[in-house]
Amino acid sequence: MKELDVKQTAWIYKKMNDIRNFEDQVHQIFTTGSIPGFVHLYAGEESVAVGVCAHLTDKDYITSTHRGHGHCIAKGCDLAGMMAEIYGKETGLCKGKGGSMHIADIDKGMLGANGMVGGGFPIAVGAGLRNKYLKTADVVVCFFGDGAANEGTFHESVNMAAIWKLPVIFVNENNSFAEATPQWYASGSKTIAERAAAYGIPGETVDGKDLTAVYKAAGKAIDRARRGKGPMILECRTYRNYGHFEGDEQKYKALDGKEKKYADQDCIKDFRKYAIANKLLTVEQADQIAATSKADIAAAVKFAENSPIPRPETLYDNVFAD
């Protein structure tokens, strides 16, 4: 496993900023009505997607969720193409036909956001099977929420990955809530990680707001998977900054109880401090990265806004491959 070095740190800090800026922008634009449908924002959870994907190459796969923007950005999807997709433009990564919940870029190893909670588990197992069958050392990361852990697909998929020792790392983003339902209500187990025992694989819970903790734990898990040691569950305790979707009043958030610790942390500020204190970034570099990120997102928005909507005839395209 790579230790955090200067180059990696800059990459991480940029990606974290990209996600935050991207989501803050979408949050704002959404109120103007330019973005159709609904969006689920990843802001607040950046250290999970970035801390994990920092260990991946384009040949490694990830599966994602309805809250997929962060995973996409961390896995290298084009920011402008993503933004255009969210706007429903033909220049979007999916030609405007998928939207926020279905952004995908298979060439980058991004197997798709997924509108079905729990829909990604089996797909990740399939990609893991493929990697094992082709004897590659590539891995698959399956991101999933605390709510998704109660779907039957979780059980079936983790079990299959376990008995076949597939290179799949199940990364749980426990942000305390599934929509308006607390994890402590919906799960019989206290943590998600402890469910790993039901499949004879390791499970670990880390502070998902702490980039370095995620980075370290994910690095170990991914390494282990690359070496053919099989899957594990890595639970990252985190919190979403916004509502479940845009427009959510969030009456269920308590902020005095079990979730407070995670709600109060800003993973990007914390990582910045860490990086500077550990001489992995200078203040100037950090400011520079933050500024570049802002500019990149602004450019993405501009690209999206100036892009054409899909030509009508594309409605009928791509139902089947020829």
Binding site: G88, V117, N150, E151, E179, Y252, P312, L315
Partner: protein, 343 residues
């Protein structure tokens, strides 16, 4: 009956009155209250959401969490639990948030709830209502915009209703909950805000009966759910050309009302069915095949189906609007059928 309420409120009221009337009625679903086990909400006896669209809002505060049950994200589990609760004497109403999630829990309907009575030689009764929503037009993309009432309606032992107005939504839902069978109640999510007159008192609209929403002698248009408005709009336009269109709101898609439809076609000799479902093996084609068979000799032209194309629902707004059947497409179709009338 001057009171006007929304489609959503009509459904909420039906649930409320059904629960008031019968203690055996319970609700199950994801976030149908919301905020379970959140102390500050419990202290104030508040729900957090009342369903993702707010349809069930206020029911938990009134009836408590014993009767308005937030479930984990476990569709097969809680939908199947609703079957089990129904088989053992309760009258559950379970909510499948989007009909597109049917892929996670079809067994509870296909193999269990719909077949138990038959397989058990008549010994079981499954008084279960499944509320769900369908329909494009909300930019919700391919996995949250499908219309699958036709697939569900193909299963023996299942009744499927698709209301188009607040009045019928309330009455059909009350009838569904009273029904001793598995009834799927499929709501078009883009209609939730629609307002119309709805009586306060409880009443039932008969399951299995279509309604003639406009009388006519030249052409029959059968519509499902929201397509009623496309049908009415088209009838309006056709009237300007002197074509009198009979518009029938099907209301129940399984088993659909053959009598009303066949009688109308006997009179008009021409039929268009508007169905937002994908075009194959859907309710429209079923009606077309039955009508073409049963009243063949009355037909002055082919029965026409206007449906969504054979594609998933696209995200981009302009494509989604093209995807949905609209009055222009129905007008074009009608033009073929009534060419002789116009000459």
């Amino acid at each position: 009956m001057a009171r006007r309420i929304t489609f959503m409120k009509a459904i909420n009221e039906a649930l409320d009155q059904a629960m008031e009337q019968d203690e055996r009625v319970i609700l199950l679903g994801e976030d149908i209250a919301g905020g379970a086990d959140v102390k500050h909400l419990a202290d104030k006896n508040e729900d957090a959401w009342g369903g993702v669209f707010g349809v069930t809002k206020g029911l938990m505060p009134k009836y408590g969490r014993e009767r308005v049950i937030d479930t984990p994200i476990s569709e097969m589990g809680y939908m199947g639990a609703a079957v089990g609760a129904a088989a053992t004497g309760l009258r559950p109403v379970s909510e499948l948030m989007f009909n597109d999630f049917i892929g996670f829990c079809l067994d509870t309907i296909l193999a269990q709830g719909s077949k138990m009575r038959y397989m058990f030689g008549g010994k079981a009764k499954i008084p279960l209502t499944v509320r769900t929503c369908h329909g494009a037009g909300a930019s919700a993309a391919a996995q949250h915009s499908g219309s699958y009432y036709g697939i569900l309606g193909s299963i023996p032992g299942v009744k499927v209703v698709v209301p188009a107005t607040p009045y019928d939504a309330k009455g059909l839902l009350l009838a569904a909950i009273k029904d001793d069978n598995l009834v799927i109640f499929s709501e078009d999510k883009t209609l939730y805000g629609l307002k119309d007159e709805v009586p306060q008192a409880a009443y039932e609209v008969e399951i299995g009966k279509a309604k003639i929403k406009r009388s006519g002698t030249d052409l029959t248009i059968v519509t499902i759910g929201k397509m009623l408005y496309v049908g009415l709009e088209t009838a309006e336009k056709l009237a300007k050309d002197g074509i009198e269109t009979e518009v029938i709101d099907l209301l129940t898609v399984a088993p659909w009302d053959q009598e009303t439809v066949l009688n109308s076609v006997k009179k008009t000799g021409r039929l268009i069915i508007i169905d937002e479902a994908n075009p194959h093996n859907n309710t429209a084609t079923d009606i077309a095949s039955v009508v073409s068979d049963q009243v063949f000799d009355y037909l002055d032209g082919p029965v026409k189906c206007v449906c969504a194309p054979n594609t998933p629902v696209p995200f981009a707004t302009n494509l989604e609007q093209l995807y949905l059947p609209n009055s222009q497409r129905v007008m074009e179709t009608a033009a073929e059928l009534i060419a002789d009338l116009k000459n």
